[in-house]
């Protein structure tokens, strides 16, 4: 989405080509002038551009690669086999976006991930499905006590999610402003928390600040159940389930909503690449223009105002609103000259924690894996396969990550997506997406170019231990490390959320204190990527909320 070139070099002033007359130069400048330019065609850039175009702005979305989607793409790596290279499921997408952008009209189709299958190291398993009664009995097989504790946990978590959900749909108030509007928003926020019952508020704080393991220990005794539930507390983040802060990650993932059900997940038809194609069609239908293979080198500024962007080939486009959908490092340190920004902001962004720790290993399979305890059962694969059989397993995997190496028995969130969408693979064949953790961006005394295939082997070996014969099914393997995420998508240090989820980088402080409302210190220059509130995952909220801010500001400017 962005480039590594420094803005100073790339933004060199260039005049119109010498051969053109002044009139045609003017005409061509007019053609290259828009109301708004969005840098980066990831899902938030597309959402942002679509909202701006819907509001009537002449909008240009510039994407560095040959396809839109950023980290939400689907690629045919082997004829007939479609891989969700990076992002692989849908849950946190704000339902309003589906409605506002009329995504159904453009092919929005969230197929149901109907179960989670969690194999255990002793050959047993936990299989949770869409059937409530079955789930309770299945949990009781592991701990009778945990069956109704699971009900209580679900209810308590839903109460917290319900209380916090509105925060996902509005920009955080500015803590540092004396603007009455901001003070009012702050008061309303306080009032919201005051209105919660004691238990819910306390649970919220425990989750936002504490560890997932502590929280889960209060409810459950079954290792497999805790392992499964704790898995969402580490996704994309360099924490173990016993680290303070893992509760926040768990809560974040529970905020997802699929057809009204919190914490439920879906698989978009054609993968998340299918989804971003839907977004692109919607944006175009509202009039947005999308230019592929157009890497932006720099945002052009004049007297502290954004006036356009320059591509790496020197082409310039002009607009008085420029929106960066890239992560904060690119937005503040690369697209513009840090010297134009206040020191404290530059410092905060330099300290902003990325430290990507997740990888993907994607497989083309000759058939479905076999689980010895359930011979012949194929339906267990119509959802997620969660390799994280206990909190100890996850914590041990984290231990290796802590010291700069990848887990020898990694956490794996697998999904054989072709069981849900047969268009992903030829008949009888399958594609399996595996999210892997921990794989720290910075390896101790090595690098990912050297370790890439070793990681692939480690993952395959781990799968083999749960599904004997797995290796024989593998037709092709794709290993995507944090380094490859950074190189391909542009996400700094391969952090899938464009910046880690932890309290100092959330809400008021995402991405930096005082800059959580999508503006930047440069007039007309905005940010809309996952590095802004509420954060990462294919959620679209940053793109939407940034568009609201932009439109409000433009309205004020005109008035």
């Amino acid at each position: 989405m962005s480039t590594k070139k420094t803005p100073a070099k790339a933004a060199k002033k260039r005049g119109a080509p010498a051969s053109t007359s002044l009139a045609s130069a003017k005409a061509s400048r007019a053609e290259r002038t828009y109301d708004a330019i969005v840098v980066g065609g990831g899902h938030n850039g597309l959402v942002n551009g679509a909202y701006l175009a819907k509001a009537g702005l002449r909008t240009l979305i510039l994407e560095r690669r040959h396809l839109v989607g950023g980290a939400a793409i689907t690629e045919e790596l082997r004829p007939g086999f479609w891989f969700t290279t990076f992002s692989y499921a849908l849950s946190l997408l704000r339902p309003q976006i589906v409605q506002d952008l009329e995504l159904v009209k453009h092919g929005f189709m969230p197929l149901l991930m109907s179960s989670t299958f969690a194999p255990m190291e002793n050959g047993d398993y936990l299989w949770l499905t869409q059937d409530h009664g079955q789930n309770l009995k299945e949990i009781a097989r592991h701990s009778k006590r945990d069956a109704d504790a699971y009900e209580q946990y679900g209810h308590d978590l839903s109460k917290v999610v319900q209380a916090l959900k509105p925060l996902f749909d509005q920009a955080p108030p500015d803590l540092f402003s004396d603007d009455p509007e901001e003070l009012l928003a702050l008061t309303q926020l306080g009032r919201r928390f005051r209105s919660l019952d004691k238990r819910t508020l306390h649970n919220a704080v425990r989750l936002l600040t504490g560890s997932a393991a502590d929280f889960l220990d209060d409810y459950f005794e079954s290792e497999i159940l805790k392992g499964y539930l704790a898995s969402s507390s580490i996704i994309g983040t360099k924490v173990g389930p016993r680290s303070q802060g893992s509760g926040l990650v768990l809560l974040f993932h529970a905020m997802g909503e699929h057809d009204g059900e919190f914490g439920a997940w879906s698989f978009h038809k054609g993968g998340n690449g299918g989804f971003t194609q839907v977004l692109a069609r919607a944006a175009q239908a509202f009039g947005a223009e999308i230019r592929l293979e157009s890497p932006v080198a720099a945002v052009i500024t004049k007297n502290g105002r954004a006036t356009g962007v320059a591509l790496t080939d020197g082409t310039e486009f002009y607009a008085d609103t420029v929106v960066s959908a890239l992560d904060p490092r690119h937005t503040f340190l690369e697209l513009v000259d840090p010297r134009e920004l206040p020191d404290d902001l530059v410092e905060t962004v330099q300290r902003y924690r990325f430290q990507g720790t997740s990888s993907k290993v994607n497989f083309a399979l000759d058939g479905l894996p076999r689980f010895p305890a359930l011979p012949g059962r194929e339906d267990v694969f119509r959802g997620f396969t969660n390799i994280g059989p206990s909190i100890d397993y996850l914590e041990r995997a984290f231990d290796e990550g802590k010291y700069g190496w990848y887990s020898s028995r990694p956490y794996i969130d697998g999904a054989i997506q072709s069981t849900i969408d047969p268009d992903m693979a030829p008949p009888g064949r399958h594609v399996m997406s595996c999210f892997i953790q921990y794989t720290p961006y910075k390896l101790r005394e090595s690098d990912w170019d050297a370790e890439q295939e070793n990681l692939g082997d480690t993952v395959q070996r781990t799968l083999e231990s749960f599904f004997p014969g797995f290796g024989d099914l593998v037709l092709q393997r794709e290993v995507v490390t944090p380094l490859h995420i950074e190189r391909t998508v542009g996400l700094s240090e391969g952090n899938i959320f464009a910046g880690e989820f932890f309290a100092p980088q959330m809400f008021f402080f995402r991405p930096a204190p005082g800059w959580s409302q999508y503006r930047t210190p440069i007039d007309g220059y905005y940010q809309c990527g996952s590095g802004t509130h509420p954060g990462g995952c294919v959620m679209g909220a940053p793109g939407k909320l940034a568009a609201e801010r932009i439109l409000k500001d433009r309205g004020k400017g005109r008035g």
């Binding site: 839903s158 194929e378 969408d421």
Partner: protein, 448 residues
């Protein structure tokens, strides 16, 4: 996956129509495909449909079955439908007199969705009639389906005509293969399926058994129905099942079907309307125009058939006396969420259809002009009532709550804003909705 081998012994067809265990006081029948569908029914829940065991769902998630149909294909056992084979030299003349839609426009190899009326122009029932492909020019046969028994009603109207009506409900099995992949998969077995037009009918063979294939269904998707002698049921099932493996095809039950048909705007007897035959008053009767079937009578002027109910129908058209118009309803998602949010509840988005009357009211502040008139609708309609919804659900494909509804004709214009009454926390709330044309989900592939 269930093993097929072990079942072979008990599979042996017991002869056409003999799917009921002889000598036992069995209270329910099983379809010709039951040996297979039973093995696939993981939840072992069955409902009774015309005295047959019918699966509500085969797996723990009916929604997964629903998505299989919309994204790949699904197989549904619709054998319990009533089926009548109508033949004889005067078959066509007979049907032209008893069916409201013009059967002359349905040559061999075509099918029609049709209905039959009483003398007052009220709908007795609806069904699909297949004009079977002619094996010989002299053979002219139809296969008519219905939800409830209609033999007496038809037989009583034969008069002097030379017509033979046989009820073959128990002698035939019907499998629906529905969804975007249905054409390619069925064409592996019956090549003519590849080019069979919407509502076309063809004869073919599957596993050596003679079958009739029609491009019909109750899902509003691309799809086919396969009609087979009961004794050939398992043979045909096995061939079809083998052909669809690896394609994401799943068997689906009544629960998913109900979702699919609501999205497709297809009405269900007993849910969205009732048969005029057994209604105690006209409030429970409907004319075909009130059910949105006016399109069946586009060329009434050019056909001079004397069919049952014609005069009443003509009078209704001329006098514009229809009491209702059948429409879709799409709920305003923001208003819906707000009503629940304010009650401290998580807005439910339940795909399980709710069948039964829900009241619709005029939107006092609504657009559309008609609402302001506040006029009294048809008989017995309270002032302010805009209509009523009969089938309501959250549609995963449309990401909205939708309904099939009857609107007062003056409020039936698409886009008209109305209020739907819902029960929230044990009291009534009104949620904004707008009127839309049926079907609400209508993919191009359905007819392409």
């Amino acid at each position: 996956m269930p093993k097929r081998e072990g079942q072979k012994k008990t599979d042996a067809p017991r002869g056409a129509g003999a799917t009921r265990d002889a000598g036992e006081a069995a209270v329910v029948r099983t379809s010709p495909f039951h040996a297979r569908t039973a093995a696939l029914n993981q939840v072992q829940l069955w409902s009774h449909w015309s005295n047959y065991l019918a699966a509500g769902r085969y797996q723990l998630s009916d929604k997964a079955e629903y998505f299989a149909v919309r994204n790949a294909a699904g197989i549904f056992d619709s054998s319990p439908l009533y089926k009548y084979r109508i033949g004889g030299p005067d078959a066509e003349a007979f049907l032209a007199g008893v069916l409201a839609r013009d059967i002359w426009a349905c040559p061999p190899g075509r099918a029609q969705y049709t209905c039959w009326l009483d003398d007052d122009g009220f709908v007795v029932e609806d069904g699909v009639v297949l004009h079977l492909p002619q094996s010989r020019p002299s053979v002219n046969e139809y296969l008519l389906t219905s939800a409830e028994p209609n033999l007496a009603w038809f037989a009583d109207r034969v008069g002097r005509l030379d017509v033979r009506i046989d009820e073959v409900s128990d002698d035939m099995g019907t499998l629906a293969l529905q969804g975007p992949r249905s054409r390619g998969l069925l064409a592996k077995l019956v090549p003519q399926a590849e080019t069979l037009p919407y509502f076309g009918v063809t004869a073919g063979k599957i596993g050596g058994a003679a079958v009739t294939v029609s491009r019909t269904g109750f899902t509003g998707d691309l799809g086919y129905e396969i009609w087979v002698d009961a004794g050939d049921g398992l043979r045909v099932w096995d061939e079809l099942w083998d052909a669809v493996q690896g394609h994401g095809v799943q068997q689906f039950g009544l629960d998913a079907l109900n979702m699919l048909r609501i999205e497709a705007g297809m009405l269900e007897l007993g849910a969205d309307f009732d048969s005029s035959r057994y209604a105690f008053n006209d409030a429970h009767r409907s004319t075909p125009l009130e059910l949105g079937w006016g399109w069946m009578f586009g060329d009434l002027k050019r056909d001079d058939r004397a069919f049952v109910g014609r005069r009443a129908l003509e009078a209704e058209i001329a006098g514009k006396t229809s009491r209702w118009a059948m429409r879709g309803l799409v709920l305003d998602w923001q208003d819906y969420d707000q009503v629940y949010d304010e009650a401290g509840l998580i807005p439910p988005k339940d795909h399980t259809p709710v069948i039964g009357d829900s009241m619709l009211y005029e939107d006092a502040a609504g657009a559309g002009g008609a609402a302001a008139s506040g006029g009294q609708g048809g008989s017995g309609v309270a002032l302010g009532q805009a209509g009523y919804a009969t089938s309501f659900m959250y549609s995963p494909m449309l990401q909205r709550h939708i309904a099939i509804a009857r609107m007062r004709p003056d409020l039936a214009k698409p886009g008209t804003r109305v209020k739907l009454e819902l029960t929230v926390d044990h009291h009534y709330e009104q949620v904004a909705a707008h009127v839309a044309r049926l079907p609400l989900y209508n993919p191009e592939r359905k007819t392409a």
